[in-house]
Symmetry: C2
């Protein structure tokens, strides 16, 4: 271990433990040696090890299970490439599972609710639902190797979804709900995403199995049809330590330069 | 205040205080009433008010200044529209200041370092700098109304920047460094951004004037020229509670549908 005199000791210990996790000295999902053993081995006090572990908890690199010790994170960061995930539906993979399947992780989706609801005010506004118009909601939690990776609540204006039985089923059929929207004459042609970061509320901590201090991404993904009508809003809540979001675009000031 | 029996009392108090901040009952940048006064007025214990304020600190809605009390956040969330911010340079506004200026906030940029450096390994890899090739670094902190809003460290391969005096000055001239890159034959035509979220380190807490528990966005923005060479990497570190990131794109599976 290289000692950098400028860094406090507990930060150096945290860096060292993080490097060991990256190098799989400590395997994903397994329990770490006890604080006392780490202190003895690294030649520092147990208080220093404890402070280092607090940093690793804050960064999501370890998880403390009450009464059971400290465990190494079981998933590496997953790359979420916005453009490619939605393009994948034409190849038969649902957008919700494309990243996880690509990493050879076991993907699972649990639907919590599918049905007609009165959407929250902010969601209704994005979907331009005036008065008290309803929406179809599809609420789900996605998992990779049995670890929750995101909550995704999708809203579709009820007047669009009405009569499409597939949208009321957990499995919305080949190409997912966007393909059903296309069949209904409202196929998405443009997307926007607004990304915020915040701490999770109680329900999210429970559903995502994370501590109150671990920040989450909240993404509002909106799909527009060819008439520029918003036809779906999906609100994603994703543990920040599990994801890297990727976006790419061509420079508009130089359009034509590459085509 | 609407009492929702399902929510713990301190969360209801936090919601109420947040609503008052949004409605400017408590003005941006001013100090909140004391915990005791809030407790008396809201008819709850001081402990409950204190727990509610802890939530507001975690969400960045209030800031505690040691020995000086609790202050309302002075900036609302700023929308960072990725495509538009970089397109703005042709209209004379630098990408770094476009959002802040648009909100009628006072924008300021402090340069911490401009010069030739050996870039960090990960940065060198993104810029495909083999061996120990150097880069020009431009490190700055951006402010809105004297509040720090982001750290932005920009790297340009030295073999590209070499000889361009403007890039060594804080003011890189009309259109900023991208316009200089264009004059050097390396004008950006495509961008990618990788977005992560994490807690800030000590230096970042100091530069951004935030607590250790407030998450930050870390954005790696890469500009590519027409030969698909990465010509600039800018690493942005931005307090999460100050920003909403916006991205939009046309659906690739339906290209031609709108054109």
């Amino acid at each position: 271990m290289v000692i950098e005199p400028s860094k406090p000791q507990y930060i150096q210990i945290a860096d060292e433990l993080r490097a060991r996790i990256d190098q799989r000295v400590y395997q994903a999902g397994t329990s770490l040696p006890s604080e006392q053993r780490l202190a003895d081995e690294l030649g520092v006090s147990r208080v220093t090890v404890n402070k280092a572990l607090t940093l690793l908890r804050a960064s999501g690199d370890v998880k403390v299970r009450r009464g059971a010790g400290t465990y190494v994170r079981s998933l590496s960061r997953i790359l979420r490439d916005a453009k490619r995930r939605y393009a994948a539906r034409d190849h038969g993979t649902g957008a919700g599972e494309v990243e996880v399947t690509g990493l050879n992780l076991q993907s699972r989706t649990d639907y919590r609710e599918i049905g007609r609801v009165h959407p929250p005010t902010a969601a209704a506004k994005v979907l331009r639902l005036e008065g008290d118009k309803d929406a179809l909601v599809r609420r789900r939690v996605l998992y990779a190797n049995n670890e929750p990776t995101q909550i995704a609540d999708s809203y579709i204006p009820w007047d669009i979804a009405d009569g499409c039985d597939a949208l009321l089923r957990a499995d919305a059929g080949k190409g997912g709900s966007y393909s059903r929207l296309a069949e209904l004459g409202h196929g998405p042609v443009r997307f926007t995403e607004d990304v915020n970061v915040r701490v999770p509320d109680d329900a999210e901590q429970r559903l995502l199995d994370i501590e109150a201090t671990l920040p989450v991404f909240e993404i509002w993904h909106v799909a527009y049809d060819a008439e520029d009508r918003p036809v779906e809003l999906c609100i994603h809540v994703m543990p920040g330590h599990l994801w890297t979001l990727r976006y790419d675009w061509d420079d508009e000031t130089r359009s034509g330069a590459r085509h």
